[in-house]
Protein backbone atom coordinates (compact mmCIF):
# COMPACT_ATOMS: atom_id res chain seq x y z
CA UNK A 1 0.00 0.00 0.00
CA UNK A 2 1.11 3.56 -0.54
CA UNK A 3 -0.16 5.29 2.55
CA UNK A 4 0.57 8.98 2.75
CA UNK A 5 0.61 8.89 6.51
CA UNK A 6 1.13 6.09 8.98
CA UNK A 7 0.93 6.72 12.70
CA UNK A 8 1.96 3.84 14.91
CA UNK A 9 1.68 3.59 18.67
CA UNK A 10 2.07 7.33 19.08
CA UNK A 11 2.42 8.63 22.61
CA UNK A 12 3.03 12.20 23.72
CA UNK A 13 3.67 13.12 27.29
CA UNK A 14 3.48 16.64 28.67
CA UNK A 15 5.04 17.83 31.87
CA UNK A 16 3.21 19.98 34.29
CA UNK A 17 5.17 22.71 36.00
CA UNK A 18 4.77 24.81 39.05
CA UNK A 19 2.46 27.78 38.52
CA UNK A 20 5.24 30.12 39.53
CA UNK A 21 7.91 28.40 37.50
CA UNK A 22 10.70 30.96 37.11
CA UNK A 23 10.89 32.35 33.58
CA UNK A 24 13.83 34.69 33.96
CA UNK A 25 17.25 34.69 35.56
CA UNK A 26 15.97 37.25 38.01
CA UNK A 27 13.14 35.00 39.16
CA UNK A 28 15.53 32.07 39.54
CA UNK A 29 17.75 34.22 41.70
CA UNK A 30 14.76 35.14 43.83
CA UNK A 31 12.97 31.80 44.11
CA UNK A 32 15.69 29.23 43.45
CA UNK A 33 15.94 26.45 40.91
CA UNK A 34 13.59 24.11 42.75
CA UNK A 35 10.46 25.29 40.99
CA UNK A 36 12.09 24.57 37.60
CA UNK A 37 11.49 20.85 38.03
CA UNK A 38 8.31 19.41 36.55
CA UNK A 39 5.68 18.54 39.14
CA UNK A 40 4.23 15.60 37.27
CA UNK A 41 3.33 14.58 33.77
CA UNK A 42 0.38 13.28 31.79
CA UNK A 43 -0.10 11.57 28.48
CA UNK A 44 -1.78 13.85 25.96
CA UNK A 45 -1.77 10.99 23.45
CA UNK A 46 -1.23 7.29 23.98
CA UNK A 47 -1.16 4.28 21.66
CA UNK A 48 -2.57 6.17 18.72
CA UNK A 49 -2.29 4.27 15.45
CA UNK A 50 -3.89 4.88 12.08
CA UNK A 51 -3.06 5.32 8.42
CA UNK A 52 -4.32 7.60 5.67
CA UNK A 53 -4.41 6.79 1.97
CA UNK A 54 -4.04 9.26 -0.90
CA UNK A 55 -7.26 11.12 -1.59
CA UNK A 56 -8.76 10.10 1.72
CA UNK A 57 -10.20 12.50 4.27
CA UNK A 58 -9.72 11.38 7.84
CA UNK A 59 -11.67 13.18 10.51
CA UNK A 60 -10.39 13.39 14.06
CA UNK A 61 -13.23 14.09 16.44
CA UNK A 62 -12.91 14.94 20.08
CA UNK A 63 -13.61 17.41 22.82
CA UNK A 64 -11.33 20.18 23.96
CA UNK A 65 -8.22 18.67 25.47
CA UNK A 66 -8.68 15.26 23.86
CA UNK A 67 -5.33 15.58 22.06
CA UNK A 68 -6.50 16.56 18.56
CA UNK A 69 -4.28 19.56 18.14
CA UNK A 70 -1.30 17.78 19.66
CA UNK A 71 -1.80 14.97 17.16
CA UNK A 72 -1.93 17.41 14.25
CA UNK A 73 1.19 19.20 15.43
CA UNK A 74 3.15 15.99 15.83
CA UNK A 75 2.22 14.91 12.32
CA UNK A 76 3.45 18.29 11.12
CA UNK A 77 6.79 17.65 12.80
CA UNK A 78 6.20 20.23 15.50
CA UNK A 79 7.22 18.81 18.84
CA UNK A 80 8.57 15.37 19.50
CA UNK A 81 6.69 12.27 20.58
CA UNK A 82 7.90 10.09 23.43
CA UNK A 83 6.63 6.88 21.89
CA UNK A 84 5.76 5.49 18.51
CA UNK A 85 6.45 6.49 14.95
CA UNK A 86 5.07 8.73 12.26
CA UNK A 87 5.77 8.18 8.58
CA UNK A 88 4.89 10.91 6.17
CA UNK A 89 5.16 10.21 2.47
CA UNK A 90 5.48 13.55 0.79
CA UNK A 91 4.98 17.21 1.46
CA UNK A 92 2.80 18.46 4.30
CA UNK A 93 0.55 21.48 3.94
CA UNK A 94 -1.10 23.02 6.93
CA UNK A 95 -4.09 25.21 7.52
CA UNK A 96 -3.24 25.82 11.15
CA UNK A 97 -1.56 28.96 12.43
CA UNK A 98 -2.11 31.24 9.50
CA UNK A 99 -1.66 34.89 8.75
CA UNK A 100 1.18 35.41 11.13
CA UNK A 101 4.72 35.51 9.89
CA UNK A 102 3.88 38.42 7.63
CA UNK A 103 5.92 41.55 8.07
CA UNK A 104 4.03 44.81 8.21
CA UNK A 105 6.76 46.85 6.56
CA UNK A 106 7.06 44.62 3.53
CA UNK A 107 4.66 44.60 0.62
CA UNK A 108 2.23 41.81 -0.07
CA UNK A 109 4.47 40.68 -2.90
CA UNK A 110 7.56 40.46 -0.69
CA UNK A 111 5.64 38.68 2.05
CA UNK A 112 4.17 36.23 -0.42
CA UNK A 113 7.60 35.40 -1.81
CA UNK A 114 9.04 34.62 1.62
CA UNK A 115 5.94 32.84 2.94
CA UNK A 116 5.86 30.63 -0.13
CA UNK A 117 9.43 29.56 0.60
CA UNK A 118 8.54 28.98 4.26
CA UNK A 119 5.62 26.81 3.15
CA UNK A 120 8.11 24.57 1.36
CA UNK A 121 8.06 25.83 -2.24
CA UNK A 122 11.19 26.59 -4.23
CA UNK A 123 11.82 30.04 -5.70
CA UNK A 124 10.89 28.74 -9.12
CA UNK A 125 7.59 27.30 -7.83
CA UNK A 126 6.71 30.52 -6.03
CA UNK A 127 7.26 32.43 -9.28
CA UNK A 128 5.04 30.03 -11.21
CA UNK A 129 2.21 30.10 -8.70
CA UNK A 130 2.45 33.77 -7.84
CA UNK A 131 -0.41 35.00 -10.01
CA UNK A 132 -2.69 32.12 -9.05
CA UNK A 133 -2.14 32.75 -5.35
CA UNK A 134 -2.79 36.49 -5.67
CA UNK A 135 -5.86 35.95 -7.79
CA UNK A 136 -7.24 33.37 -5.38
CA UNK A 137 -6.70 35.74 -2.45
CA UNK A 138 -8.48 38.52 -4.40
CA UNK A 139 -5.83 41.12 -3.58
CA UNK A 140 -4.51 41.91 -7.07
CA UNK A 141 -4.81 45.68 -6.53
CA UNK A 142 -2.96 45.69 -3.23
CA UNK A 143 -0.11 43.28 -3.88
CA UNK A 144 2.49 46.07 -3.97
CA UNK A 145 1.17 47.90 -0.94
CA UNK A 146 2.78 47.41 2.44
CA UNK A 147 1.19 44.77 4.62
CA UNK A 148 0.23 47.28 7.29
CA UNK A 149 -2.38 48.71 4.94
CA UNK A 150 -4.09 45.32 4.62
CA UNK A 151 -7.34 44.53 6.39
CA UNK A 152 -7.35 41.43 8.59
CA UNK A 153 -9.53 39.70 6.00
CA UNK A 154 -7.00 40.40 3.24
CA UNK A 155 -4.18 39.00 5.37
CA UNK A 156 -6.10 35.85 6.12
CA UNK A 157 -7.05 35.37 2.48
CA UNK A 158 -3.44 35.74 1.38
CA UNK A 159 -2.18 33.39 4.10
CA UNK A 160 -4.83 30.83 3.23
CA UNK A 161 -4.13 31.12 -0.46
CA UNK A 162 -0.42 30.47 0.08
CA UNK A 163 -1.17 27.54 2.38
CA UNK A 164 -3.31 25.70 -0.14
CA UNK A 165 -1.12 26.33 -3.15
CA UNK A 166 1.96 24.45 -2.03
CA UNK A 167 0.82 21.17 -3.62
CA UNK A 168 0.85 19.09 -0.45
CA UNK A 169 0.47 15.32 -0.42
CA UNK A 170 -1.01 15.58 3.03
CA UNK A 171 -3.07 18.53 4.20
CA UNK A 172 -3.60 19.16 7.90
CA UNK A 173 -6.72 21.17 8.59
CA UNK A 174 -7.87 22.74 11.80
CA UNK A 175 -11.60 23.16 12.33
CA UNK A 176 -11.43 26.95 12.43
CA UNK A 177 -11.70 27.13 8.70
CA UNK A 178 -13.78 30.27 8.58
CA UNK A 179 -11.73 32.58 6.41
CA UNK A 180 -13.38 35.53 4.74
CA UNK A 181 -16.96 35.77 3.57
CA UNK A 182 -19.22 32.96 2.40
CA UNK A 183 -18.04 33.34 -1.18
CA UNK A 184 -14.41 32.90 -0.21
CA UNK A 185 -15.22 29.98 2.08
CA UNK A 186 -17.01 28.20 -0.73
CA UNK A 187 -14.04 28.81 -2.99
CA UNK A 188 -11.75 27.34 -0.35
CA UNK A 189 -13.87 24.25 0.11
CA UNK A 190 -13.94 23.75 -3.66
CA UNK A 191 -10.20 24.12 -3.84
CA UNK A 192 -9.68 21.58 -1.03
CA UNK A 193 -12.09 19.20 -2.77
CA UNK A 194 -10.10 19.57 -5.99
CA UNK A 195 -6.88 18.81 -4.14
CA UNK A 196 -8.46 15.72 -2.61
CA UNK A 197 -9.59 14.55 -6.03
CA UNK A 198 -6.01 15.02 -7.18
CA UNK A 199 -4.81 12.53 -4.56
CA UNK A 200 -4.06 14.78 -1.60
CA UNK A 201 -4.86 13.15 1.72
CA UNK A 202 -6.48 15.29 4.38
CA UNK A 203 -6.54 15.06 8.14
CA UNK A 204 -9.23 17.29 9.62
CA UNK A 205 -9.62 17.87 13.32
CA UNK A 206 -12.97 19.01 14.60
CA UNK A 207 -15.29 19.25 17.55
CA UNK A 208 -18.30 19.19 15.30
CA UNK A 209 -19.77 15.77 14.51
CA UNK A 210 -21.83 17.33 11.70
CA UNK A 211 -18.72 18.60 9.94
CA UNK A 212 -17.03 15.20 10.29
CA UNK A 213 -20.08 13.44 8.87
CA UNK A 214 -20.37 15.65 5.79
CA UNK A 215 -16.69 15.98 4.88
CA UNK A 216 -14.84 12.81 5.89
CA UNK A 217 -14.42 9.31 4.49
CA UNK A 218 -13.37 7.86 7.80
CA UNK A 219 -13.13 9.14 11.33
CA UNK A 220 -11.50 8.46 14.65
CA UNK A 221 -12.76 9.57 18.01
CA UNK A 222 -10.21 10.71 20.56
CA UNK A 223 -10.92 10.77 24.25
CA UNK A 224 -8.23 11.74 26.74
CA UNK A 225 -5.55 10.97 24.22
CA UNK A 226 -6.77 7.53 23.22
CA UNK A 227 -8.62 6.31 20.18
CA UNK A 228 -12.01 5.12 21.40
CA UNK A 229 -13.60 4.63 17.98
CA UNK A 230 -12.28 4.24 14.45
CA UNK A 231 -15.04 3.77 11.92
CA UNK A 232 -17.27 5.36 9.31
CA UNK A 233 -17.94 9.03 10.05
CA UNK A 234 -21.65 8.49 10.76
CA UNK A 235 -20.94 5.85 13.40
CA UNK A 236 -18.15 7.82 15.04
CA UNK A 237 -20.26 10.97 15.05
CA UNK A 238 -23.16 9.08 16.64
CA UNK A 239 -20.86 7.72 19.31
CA UNK A 240 -19.55 11.21 20.01
CA UNK A 241 -23.08 12.63 20.31
CA UNK A 242 -24.00 9.83 22.74
CA UNK A 243 -21.00 10.54 24.90
CA UNK A 244 -21.87 14.23 25.00
CA UNK A 245 -25.33 13.62 26.37
Amino acid sequence: MSEVLIVEGLGKRFRRYHTYRPRTFMQVALSGLKKMQPLDSFWALREVSFAVLPGEVLGVLGRNGSGKSTLLRLIGGVGRAEEGKIWVNGRIGALLDMGAGFHNDLTGRENLNVSGLIAGLSKQQVREKFDTIVEFAEIEDFIDSPMRTYSSGMRMRLAFSIAIHNDPDLLLVDEHLSVGDIGFQTKCMNRIEAMRAGGCAIVLISQSPDQIETVCDRAILLNQGKIVAHDLPAKVAARYRDSQN
Binding site: T24, V78, L106, V114, A119
Partner: protein, 273 residues
Protein backbone atom coordinates in the same frame (compact mmCIF):
# COMPACT_ATOMS: atom_id res chain seq x y z
CA UNK B 1 13.15 12.96 37.57
CA UNK B 2 14.99 9.73 36.61
CA UNK B 3 11.70 8.55 35.17
CA UNK B 4 11.39 11.38 32.69
CA UNK B 5 14.97 10.87 31.59
CA UNK B 6 14.28 7.30 30.70
CA UNK B 7 11.41 8.31 28.49
CA UNK B 8 13.59 10.78 26.74
CA UNK B 9 16.00 8.18 25.58
CA UNK B 10 13.32 6.26 23.73
CA UNK B 11 12.34 9.36 21.80
CA UNK B 12 10.18 8.50 18.87
CA UNK B 13 11.57 8.60 15.38
CA UNK B 14 10.02 10.58 12.67
CA UNK B 15 10.80 9.45 9.19
CA UNK B 16 10.15 11.37 6.05
CA UNK B 17 12.13 9.45 3.50
CA UNK B 18 10.46 10.20 0.24
CA UNK B 19 10.28 13.74 -1.12
CA UNK B 20 12.53 15.04 1.57
CA UNK B 21 12.72 18.75 0.89
CA UNK B 22 15.49 19.11 -1.62
CA UNK B 23 18.63 20.95 -0.69
CA UNK B 24 17.93 23.63 -3.24
CA UNK B 25 14.61 24.42 -1.57
CA UNK B 26 16.52 24.95 1.67
CA UNK B 27 18.93 27.24 -0.15
CA UNK B 28 16.03 29.19 -1.66
CA UNK B 29 14.46 29.51 1.78
CA UNK B 30 17.76 30.66 3.26
CA UNK B 31 18.40 33.32 0.63
CA UNK B 32 14.77 34.43 0.85
CA UNK B 33 15.01 34.94 4.60
CA UNK B 34 18.37 36.75 4.36
CA UNK B 35 16.94 38.95 1.60
CA UNK B 36 13.96 39.78 3.80
CA UNK B 37 16.05 40.75 6.81
CA UNK B 38 18.31 42.92 4.64
CA UNK B 39 15.24 44.66 3.20
CA UNK B 40 13.97 45.32 6.72
CA UNK B 41 17.39 46.49 7.85
CA UNK B 42 18.07 48.89 5.00
CA UNK B 43 14.54 49.88 4.04
CA UNK B 44 15.36 48.94 0.44
CA UNK B 45 17.64 51.90 -0.20
CA UNK B 46 21.31 52.69 -0.53
CA UNK B 47 20.71 55.48 1.95
CA UNK B 48 19.58 52.82 4.41
CA UNK B 49 22.99 51.17 4.18
CA UNK B 50 24.69 54.52 4.78
CA UNK B 51 22.36 55.18 7.69
CA UNK B 52 23.33 51.96 9.47
CA UNK B 53 27.00 52.92 9.17
CA UNK B 54 26.47 56.17 11.03
CA UNK B 55 26.52 54.44 14.42
CA UNK B 56 30.04 52.95 14.16
CA UNK B 57 31.27 56.23 12.67
CA UNK B 58 29.90 58.17 15.62
CA UNK B 59 31.49 55.70 18.02
CA UNK B 60 34.74 56.06 16.13
CA UNK B 61 34.68 59.85 16.54
CA UNK B 62 34.02 59.55 20.28
CA UNK B 63 36.81 57.03 20.83
CA UNK B 64 39.23 58.91 18.62
CA UNK B 65 38.65 62.14 20.54
CA UNK B 66 38.52 60.64 24.04
CA UNK B 67 41.20 57.98 23.84
CA UNK B 68 43.30 59.37 21.03
CA UNK B 69 44.36 62.17 23.35
CA UNK B 70 44.64 60.10 26.55
CA UNK B 71 46.52 57.01 25.45
CA UNK B 72 50.24 57.41 25.83
CA UNK B 73 52.45 56.92 22.85
CA UNK B 74 49.38 56.58 20.71
CA UNK B 75 48.51 53.78 18.35
CA UNK B 76 49.53 54.34 14.74
CA UNK B 77 46.64 54.60 12.24
CA UNK B 78 44.24 54.98 15.10
CA UNK B 79 41.10 55.58 12.99
CA UNK B 80 41.62 52.36 11.02
CA UNK B 81 42.52 50.59 14.25
CA UNK B 82 39.28 51.52 16.00
CA UNK B 83 37.01 51.17 12.97
CA UNK B 84 38.21 47.65 12.11
CA UNK B 85 37.61 46.61 15.72
CA UNK B 86 34.22 48.29 15.89
CA UNK B 87 32.72 46.74 12.77
CA UNK B 88 33.95 43.24 13.65
CA UNK B 89 32.50 43.69 17.12
CA UNK B 90 29.19 44.97 15.73
CA UNK B 91 28.77 41.77 13.72
CA UNK B 92 29.43 39.71 16.86
CA UNK B 93 27.14 41.74 19.07
CA UNK B 94 24.10 42.25 16.83
CA UNK B 95 24.09 38.64 15.66
CA UNK B 96 24.19 37.31 19.20
CA UNK B 97 21.53 39.66 20.51
CA UNK B 98 19.22 38.94 17.60
CA UNK B 99 19.81 35.19 17.61
CA UNK B 100 19.05 34.97 21.31
CA UNK B 101 15.43 35.76 20.52
CA UNK B 102 15.21 33.60 17.43
CA UNK B 103 13.19 30.70 18.92
CA UNK B 104 10.90 32.83 21.06
CA UNK B 105 10.23 35.53 18.46
CA UNK B 106 9.73 33.19 15.53
CA UNK B 107 7.16 30.98 17.22
CA UNK B 108 4.99 31.14 14.10
CA UNK B 109 7.72 29.78 11.86
CA UNK B 110 8.57 27.09 14.38
CA UNK B 111 4.99 25.83 14.29
CA UNK B 112 5.09 25.65 10.51
CA UNK B 113 5.29 21.96 9.50
CA UNK B 114 8.67 21.10 8.09
CA UNK B 115 10.27 24.46 8.82
CA UNK B 116 13.99 23.95 9.52
CA UNK B 117 14.25 25.91 12.76
CA UNK B 118 18.03 25.65 12.86
CA UNK B 119 18.18 27.95 9.84
CA UNK B 120 17.17 31.01 11.88
CA UNK B 121 20.47 31.80 13.68
CA UNK B 122 22.35 31.15 10.43
CA UNK B 123 20.16 33.72 8.69
CA UNK B 124 20.91 36.25 11.43
CA UNK B 125 24.65 35.61 11.31
CA UNK B 126 24.67 35.86 7.51
CA UNK B 127 22.75 39.14 7.57
CA UNK B 128 25.33 40.47 10.03
CA UNK B 129 28.14 39.27 7.78
CA UNK B 130 26.70 41.09 4.76
CA UNK B 131 26.32 44.20 6.85
CA UNK B 132 29.95 43.82 7.94
CA UNK B 133 31.08 43.50 4.31
CA UNK B 134 29.15 46.65 3.39
CA UNK B 135 31.31 48.62 5.81
CA UNK B 136 34.55 47.44 4.17
CA UNK B 137 34.65 50.31 1.65
CA UNK B 138 34.68 52.80 4.51
CA UNK B 139 37.39 50.84 6.28
CA UNK B 140 39.47 50.85 3.11
CA UNK B 141 38.94 54.61 2.87
CA UNK B 142 40.32 54.98 6.41
CA UNK B 143 43.25 52.71 5.55
CA UNK B 144 44.14 54.84 2.56
CA UNK B 145 43.89 58.06 4.60
CA UNK B 146 46.02 56.48 7.36
CA UNK B 147 48.59 55.47 4.75
CA UNK B 148 48.28 51.73 5.22
CA UNK B 149 49.29 49.54 2.30
CA UNK B 150 46.79 46.96 1.08
CA UNK B 151 48.73 43.74 0.52
CA UNK B 152 47.90 40.25 -0.81
CA UNK B 153 47.39 38.94 2.76
CA UNK B 154 43.91 40.42 2.37
CA UNK B 155 43.16 37.23 0.46
CA UNK B 156 43.20 35.50 3.86
CA UNK B 157 40.09 37.46 4.88
CA UNK B 158 37.60 34.70 3.97
CA UNK B 159 39.32 32.38 6.46
CA UNK B 160 39.02 34.89 9.30
CA UNK B 161 35.42 35.65 8.32
CA UNK B 162 34.58 31.93 8.34
CA UNK B 163 36.11 31.43 11.77
CA UNK B 164 34.24 34.40 13.19
CA UNK B 165 30.99 33.19 11.60
CA UNK B 166 31.46 29.75 13.16
CA UNK B 167 32.20 31.28 16.55
CA UNK B 168 29.11 33.51 16.44
CA UNK B 169 26.86 30.70 15.20
CA UNK B 170 27.90 28.28 17.94
CA UNK B 171 27.23 30.90 20.62
CA UNK B 172 24.01 31.93 18.88
CA UNK B 173 22.53 28.41 19.13
CA UNK B 174 23.28 28.14 22.82
CA UNK B 175 21.90 31.61 23.59
CA UNK B 176 18.68 31.05 21.64
CA UNK B 177 18.16 27.82 23.59
CA UNK B 178 18.80 29.46 26.96
CA UNK B 179 16.39 32.25 26.08
CA UNK B 180 13.54 29.72 25.89
CA UNK B 181 13.93 28.84 29.55
CA UNK B 182 14.99 32.28 30.74
CA UNK B 183 13.27 35.05 28.87
CA UNK B 184 15.58 37.76 30.17
CA UNK B 185 18.61 36.23 28.43
CA UNK B 186 18.67 39.06 25.91
CA UNK B 187 18.85 41.73 28.60
CA UNK B 188 21.46 39.87 30.61
CA UNK B 189 23.38 39.29 27.39
CA UNK B 190 23.40 43.01 26.61
CA UNK B 191 25.06 43.76 29.93
CA UNK B 192 27.63 41.01 29.41
CA UNK B 193 28.35 42.16 25.86
CA UNK B 194 28.78 45.72 27.06
CA UNK B 195 31.44 44.46 29.48
CA UNK B 196 33.07 42.29 26.86
CA UNK B 197 33.16 45.25 24.49
CA UNK B 198 35.57 47.06 26.78
CA UNK B 199 37.63 43.87 27.18
CA UNK B 200 38.04 43.22 23.45
CA UNK B 201 40.80 45.67 22.69
CA UNK B 202 38.68 47.72 20.36
CA UNK B 203 40.18 51.11 21.20
CA UNK B 204 43.39 50.01 22.89
CA UNK B 205 46.07 47.40 22.32
CA UNK B 206 45.67 44.28 24.43
CA UNK B 207 49.46 43.93 24.59
CA UNK B 208 49.61 47.18 26.53
CA UNK B 209 47.67 45.68 29.45
CA UNK B 210 49.82 44.61 32.39
CA UNK B 211 49.79 41.09 33.83
CA UNK B 212 47.88 39.36 35.35
CA UNK B 213 44.92 41.11 33.65
CA UNK B 214 46.32 40.47 30.21
CA UNK B 215 46.08 36.69 30.69
CA UNK B 216 42.38 37.04 31.46
CA UNK B 217 41.66 39.39 28.58
CA UNK B 218 43.30 37.12 26.00
CA UNK B 219 40.81 34.37 26.92
CA UNK B 220 38.22 36.46 25.07
CA UNK B 221 38.09 35.00 21.53
CA UNK B 222 37.03 38.33 20.02
CA UNK B 223 40.42 39.79 20.96
CA UNK B 224 42.12 37.40 18.56
CA UNK B 225 39.53 37.76 15.82
CA UNK B 226 39.90 41.54 15.90
CA UNK B 227 43.70 41.24 15.98
CA UNK B 228 43.54 39.01 12.93
CA UNK B 229 41.56 41.60 10.96
CA UNK B 230 44.05 44.28 11.98
CA UNK B 231 46.97 42.11 10.95
CA UNK B 232 45.71 41.67 7.40
CA UNK B 233 44.13 45.11 6.95
CA UNK B 234 46.47 47.49 8.74
CA UNK B 235 49.82 45.76 9.14
CA UNK B 236 49.68 43.61 6.03
CA UNK B 237 51.01 40.55 7.83
CA UNK B 238 49.72 37.05 8.47
CA UNK B 239 47.37 36.71 11.43
CA UNK B 240 48.26 34.71 14.55
CA UNK B 241 47.34 31.25 13.28
CA UNK B 242 47.73 29.61 16.68
CA UNK B 243 45.07 31.80 18.24
CA UNK B 244 42.75 31.51 15.23
CA UNK B 245 43.21 27.74 15.17
CA UNK B 246 42.24 27.55 18.83
CA UNK B 247 39.08 29.55 18.16
CA UNK B 248 38.26 27.36 15.16
CA UNK B 249 38.60 24.27 17.37
CA UNK B 250 36.49 25.85 20.08
CA UNK B 251 33.74 26.64 17.56
CA UNK B 252 33.95 23.18 16.02
CA UNK B 253 33.43 21.66 19.46
CA UNK B 254 30.71 24.05 20.52
CA UNK B 255 28.71 24.07 17.29
CA UNK B 256 27.27 20.51 17.44
CA UNK B 257 26.52 20.89 21.15
CA UNK B 258 24.82 24.24 20.66
CA UNK B 259 22.90 22.87 17.69
CA UNK B 260 21.65 19.86 19.67
CA UNK B 261 20.51 22.01 22.61
CA UNK B 262 18.84 24.39 20.18
CA UNK B 263 16.87 21.62 18.46
CA UNK B 264 15.81 20.15 21.77
CA UNK B 265 14.69 23.50 23.13
CA UNK B 266 12.78 24.44 19.99
CA UNK B 267 10.71 21.27 20.39
CA UNK B 268 10.19 21.97 24.05
CA UNK B 269 9.20 25.52 23.31
CA UNK B 270 6.22 24.64 21.16
CA UNK B 271 5.11 22.07 23.69
CA UNK B 272 5.31 24.33 26.69
CA UNK B 273 2.75 26.78 25.40
Amino acid sequence: MPKSKRYHRQTAQRTQKINQPALNQRIDLFTGLVDRSLKLLYNRSMLGIAWTLIKPLMQLIVFAIVFGSILEGGIPRYASFIFSGLIAWTWFQTSLTESAGSIVQNDVLIRQPGFPVAILPIVTVTTGLIHFLFSFPILILFLIIDGARLTPVLLLLPIILTIQAALITSFAYVLAAINVAFRDTQHTLNVLLQMLFYLSGIFYEVDSISEPYRTIVVLNPMVHIINAYRAVFIEGVQPDWMALGAIALLSAALLPIGYAIFQHQSFRFVEDL
